[in-house]
Symmetry: C2
Subunit: 127 residues, 2 copies
DNA sequence: CCATTACGAAACCTTTTCGTTTCATATTCG
DNA sequence: CGAATATGAAACGAAAAGGTTTCGTAATGG
């Protein structure tokens, strides 16, 4: 219920290529909006909107310095992504792959509902 | 140049929550469309479109069995995401953080163009 | 003080995205 | 064969995304 709860999804925030480039630009160095937008072919206002989205996802931090607002990347929220990824890593770099395969070929009743009836009549039109 | 070149971006593919749920559902088990769509509150056709997007990103594989089309997750394309993430991991779990901070406080000329003039007149309206 | 600079808010437009319903086609089975 | 099933393609609609230009306001500095 606090103020810093991410309102924008990290997955969505990084979906846009421009925003990924923004992160890259701001990962090591804080920069004011005008300077940032100089690195992009779109308007300053458009960049500003992307920055807001990133900020709401917690991926950049803003700080007012005089009349400028400086932005800098904040990598922490990416941990959520890392965690999400970690789950699927199991399935590509080893181990459970064999097990999953085994279950599939066994008839998967009890693992996922509704599947069995259809799975059973497997007929393979073509070899 | 082959047929399996990903036409859809992985970042974009996983941006949608429904598609992430699809991946989760299909990670261990292959399933036909009708069964899959039974797990979602949207129409079968809508699910089918999401599956197509995932397929174009290489995240699911489809296989025709009789009159049904079965889908299953293919985790490999997530490696791109992992790689992208790895770059930023440096910045949250250690090392370079200190260095980056150092550079910032030093005046960052030569690191990012255009910054210097503005950075220098730092005045900090408020403490 | 007043012109300039930095920036976000607002209004607006175009394209995508996500969903729907309807239709066509292939496969299965009595 | 013909009804039923599984699915994608097409046409369509509403809302969100990404962009632009214009305007208001706050800070700077001559």
């Amino acid at each position: 219920m606090a103020s810093s709860a991410p309102k924008y999804d990290v997955f969505q925030a990084i979906a846009d290529p421009t925003r990924r480039r923004l992160l890259q630009l701001l990962v090591e160095q804080e920069m004011p909006v005008t300077v940032i937008s100089g690195h992009f072919p779109i308007s300053r206002t458009a960049v500003s909107k992307h920055l807001r989205i990133l900020a709401e996802a917690g991926l950049v931090q803003e700080r007012k310095v005089g009349r400028e607002t400086r932005y800098r990347m904040q990598p922490e929220p990416l941990q959520e992504l890392k965690q999400w990824l970690a789950y699927y890593e199991q399935f590509w770099d080893n181990k459970l792959a064999a097990l999953a395969h085994y279950m599939e070929n066994q008839d998967a009743e009890g693992i996922v509902d509704r599947v069995p009836k259809i799975v059973k009549q497997e007929r393979e039109t073509k070899g």
